[in-house]
């Protein structure tokens, strides 16, 4: 691309009336919601007609909830980190991430079915809430001060409340800056980003302990929060890249988001694929090596004859194959290839969530079925609908960010 001056490009985008989706958004959102509803209906019907359907539904709901939540969390951490490091290159991608993170209120609403499941007799997926189990397991009894329904719900409310606040903090200031162009807003966001990152780390860690790790209440791993975070970052980055490609396909932000930005996002995505692999390997190797029965049960379930193929697929598909596929510079600069890997990684990130939760539902078979498909599409439709609603009247690129000219002008080595 010929190198324009920073000012030329900045004024180009400002001259377009808006980079926001405008009237396209409500129509697309409605489509998304209808698709979502259809998916949910399919899942519910399957739950009614299949054996053990409701238990499967509950577990699968958690899987898909964790998947979509992780995308928003990954995006939120991206925004906070870019502010903390005063990054210039990422300005053009930041609004899309803010929109992804701004789905937090929807995620809070979607948490309600999970919360309700605590009061069901089988208490799936949170079996520790089932008093019969607690009676027979000394380990679960030991954890009662922490794993009890009121405290659990209180904590969940805190996590979601804080995430909503964090996402709003960045989003509202960012869109306010679209109007005023005030650099003080950037300074403020930068100043708060540090404590926000701290809070984010603690809330994400404990949310993953509460919502995902406690599904297997007798098991524990201190790196679990970092593991979930690694996967969330992969998911968030891949989703942001795909969102950018979708927006550009529809003709928006065509000149703002350049190959250089995709290249950088691709590099980050690659790095976090490796990071995820490093965390996953650490957890596995340490538990394998010490061979302590309290810890190995979790992996033994996932190495049983029914689950072993999925574990191998996850190892290959979430680490080795994308590593080799994305290592080349060219791949990250070509939208088709990069987009392919983003879709691939989102699929395997979903498999990761499935692998984390479902063996507790069924360790003797691989329980992928219509319920899972239905909830994936169902929650996904709602999620995308929420995104489109947020994006409706908002520019897709922070038009008056003081570092936008720097972002538009930069070139990779």
């Amino acid at each position: 691309m010929t190198v324009r001056t920073m000012h030329e490009i900045a004024s180009l985008d400002r001259s377009r009336r808006t980079d926001s989706l405008g009237e396209l958004a409500p129509r697309a959102a409605k489509t998304a919601w209808i698709v979502g509803g259809a998916g949910l209906a399919l899942a519910v019907l399957s739950a009614v007609f299949f054996d053990d359907g409701w238990r499967h539904f509950n577990y699968s709901y958690l899987v898909n909830y964790a998947f979509y939540l992780s995308i928003s969390l990954g995006a939120l951490s991206f925004v906070a980190l870019q502010h903390a490091t005063r990054a210039g290159w990422s300005v053009t991608f930041r609004r899309l991430n803010e929109i992804l993170a701004a789905n937090m209120p929807l995620m809070a609403i979607l948490f309600i079915p999970l919360a309700l499941s605590l009061f069901l007799p089988a208490a799936a997926p949170y079996v520790w809430a089932n008093p019969d189990l607690a009676e027979h397991s000394p380990l679960v009894q030991h954890k009662q001060p922490f794993l009890n329904v009121p405290f659990f719900l209180l904590r969940s409310a805190i996590y979601l409340g804080l995430w909503i606040w964090m996402a709003r903090f960045f989003f509202t200031r960012s869109i306010r800056q679209d109007v005023s162009g005030d650099p003080e807003l950037t300074v403020q966001m930068e100043r708060f980003s540090g404590p926000i990152i701290l809070l984010f780390a603690l809330t994400t860690t404990f949310a993953s302990f509460d919502w995902l790790m406690s599904v297997e209440p007798e098991w524990f791993s201190s790196i679990y929060g970092v593991y979930y975070y690694g996967g969330a970052t992969v998911g968030g980055l891949a989703a942001a890249i795909l969102a950018a490609m979708a927006a550009q396909r529809a003709g928006y932000a065509a000149q703002s988001i350049t190959t250089e930005h995709y290249h950088d996002m691709g590099k980050l995505l690659f790095a976090f694929v490796v990071f995820w692999g490093y965390i996953a390997f650490s957890q596995y190797m340490l538990i394998w090596y010490a061979n302590i029965p309290e810890e190995t049960t979790w992996y033994l379930d996932r190495q049983s004859s029914a689950w072993l193929p999925a574990s191998i697929a996850l190892l290959l598909g979430h680490l080795f194959i994308p590593f080799l596929g994305m290592i080349s510079r060219e791949v990250k600069r070509r939208k088709v290839l990069l987009g392919f890997w983003c879709v691939w990684l989102l699929a395997f990130h979903w498999l990761d969530m499935f692998y984390l939760v479902m063996p507790s539902f069924a360790s003797d078979r691989f329980p992928l079925g219509l319920i899972d498909l239905g909830l994936l599409v169902g929650l996904g439709g709602l999620y995308v609908g929420g995104l489109l609603r947020t994006a409706a009247n908002v520019a897709l690129v922070p038009t008056k960010d003081p570092r936008l000219p720097e972002a538009l002008a930069f070139e990779n080595l």
């Binding site: 005063r86 290159w89 954890k143 790196i223 957890q283 340490l286 302590i292």
Partner: protein, 465 residues
């Protein structure tokens, strides 16, 4: 916080509309060269350097004498005993290896993140890495007892049919630390070739010209050579990044693969890496604050550089604090009485003085860096950085000694008492570190001139493009 002009001493402005200049003062290529080269080119070594060198060299001598004494007399001269079989030597090893990580992070990871401000400090930090790894490598070598058999750790064909045990993290350490030493040295040297050529071309003394010229390999700054040099630099940076993460992870595996309470917890690898970066940056700050003043480098290593390093210290301190909290929570959550006891013992048992020193230095003190005044005042950051290093030494001490002195069987519990030899060797290792470091400062280019010039060429030449 308003923009404010860049004063001669302070480029730590935070106006988002402008990037702070990377160097202070009016610099051009010649002035950068002059600032850095004049240190090595001084005919008369300053007296202060001789004094410092004498002190560190004598400490180094003491270290080697004590090592000889250790070989002749045996490992019993240390405090290692049942049940604390790993004492100061391993604490010191992990301490020094951790410090080394900052150099590679600055060189490699900040390079990949395109942080141009690293160019003023990377040569300095990489040198620190290599010298720290030298100090680190001594301890596992001498602690094996029969140092003359140390070559058995290498997989060479032998008539004893003996191979190393590749399933042991202690052997992974051998590979990891030696790879790290090699790659760091290669990276450091490759980066230095153009600067050695600068010193060669400016040298008036024929012996200096010969010395610098030999190591400069005939570099002539050709664009074709620069192209391959840059690719190699990028590749080495891309390789060194996972390497530095892996080295301290492998060191953490030494502990985490065991079943000892307080050691076996899955968060060790990233926690150790964060701690290593933490202590490494603290050491860079500790060395850089006096060095930039003494060697007149304040315009190249500005307050902004120091501020950025302090921010990283703050960030890694938070990660370390996060790890402490998570470990403690999981120790309770796991329901394992041994694990919970291990953590309560750390805070309330016979070594609680070490534990609380660690917590204070690592988790409390660095929070001073939330305040800009503290981040940009040299004497405050020196104190914080030194305390951080103290705290990180104590962290390794706490991990090793508390867990070993009280593990599963109360009948096996026992105290650990260091001997004077333990202390003296640790102090001596600082002597070795500073000896090598002073030699580096005196004779080698302390700042990566070529990289600084590349970073500021826009500023010098304007937007010529």
């Amino acid at each position: 916080m308003s923009s404010g002009a860049v004063t001669a001493n302070d480029n730590t402005l935070s106006d988002p509309r402008h990037r702070a200049p990377l160097v202070a003062g009016k610099q051009d290529y010649a002035s950068i060269t002059e600032t850095v080269c004049r240190i090595a080119e001084r005919d008369k070594t300053p007296r202060a350097w001789y004094v410092a060198f004498a002190v560190s060299a004598s400490l180094t001598g003491m270290l080697f004498l004590l090592i000889g004494y250790l070989f002749i007399t045996g490992v019993g001269v240390w405090g290692n005993n049942s049940p604390v079989f790993w004492g100061w030597p391993i604490v010191n090893f992990v301490f020094w290896v951790g410090i080394g990580h900052a150099g590679t992070l600055i060189s490699a990871i900040l390079f990949l993140f395109r942080q141009q401000w690293r160019t003023s400090i990377n040569r300095f930090a990489e040198a620190m890495t290599i010298f720290a790894v030298c100090c680190a490598g001594i301890f596992p070598g001498i602690h094996i007892g029969r140092i003359w058999c140390v070559y058995w750790l290498a997989p060479y064909p032998n008539q004893m049919e003996m191979w190393p045990n590749f399933r042991s993290p202690l052997l992974w350490d051998v590979f990891a630390v030696s790879t790290y030493a090699t790659v760091s040295a290669l990276f450091w040297y490759l980066g230095m070739i153009p600067d050695l050529a600068t010193l060669r071309d400016r040298a008036t003394n024929p012996w200096r010209r010969l010395a610098y010229g030999t190591f400069a390999l005939g570099w002539r700054g050709s664009a074709r050579q620069w192209h391959r040099y840059e690719r190699a630099y990028l590749l080495l940076a891309a390789l060194a990044t996972p390497l530095v993460l892996s080295v301290h992870s492998v060191v953490s595996f030494d502990f985490a693969v065991s079943q000892v309470p307080g050691w076996h917890t899955t968060i060790f690898p990233p926690y150790f890496v964060a701690g290593a970066i933490f202590s490494g940056f603290a050491m860079v700050v500790t060395l850089m604050v006096p060095a930039r003043a003494f060697f007149g480098l304040k315009e190249l290593v500005t307050l902004r550089h120091l501020e950025n390093m302090n921010k990283i210290i703050l960030a890694t301190s938070c990660i370390v604090g996060y790890a402490y909290a998570t470990e403690f929570f999981i120790a309770w959550y796991s329901g394992s009485q041994y694990e919970l006891f291990a953590f309560l013992n750390r805070a309330l048992g016979p070594y609680k003085w070490a534990y609380w020193t660690m917590v204070f230095c690592n988790v409390v003190v660095p929070h001073l860096f939330w305040f800009k005044k503290c981040r940009t005042t040299p004497w405050i950051m020196m104190i914080v950085a030194i305390l951080v290093n103290v705290g990180m030494w104590f962290e390794r001490f706490v991990i090793i000694v508390t867990s070993l002195s009280r593990d599963f069987l109360p009948s096996s519990w026992g105290a650990f008492v260091p001997t004077p030899i333990d202390v003296a060797m640790f102090v001596g290792s600082f002597g070795l570190f500073f000896t090598l470091f002073l030699l580096f400062c005196r004779y080698l280019p302390m700042v990566a001139m070529a990289e600084v010039k590349a970073a500021v060429s826009h500023g010098i030449e304007g937007h010529g493009h």
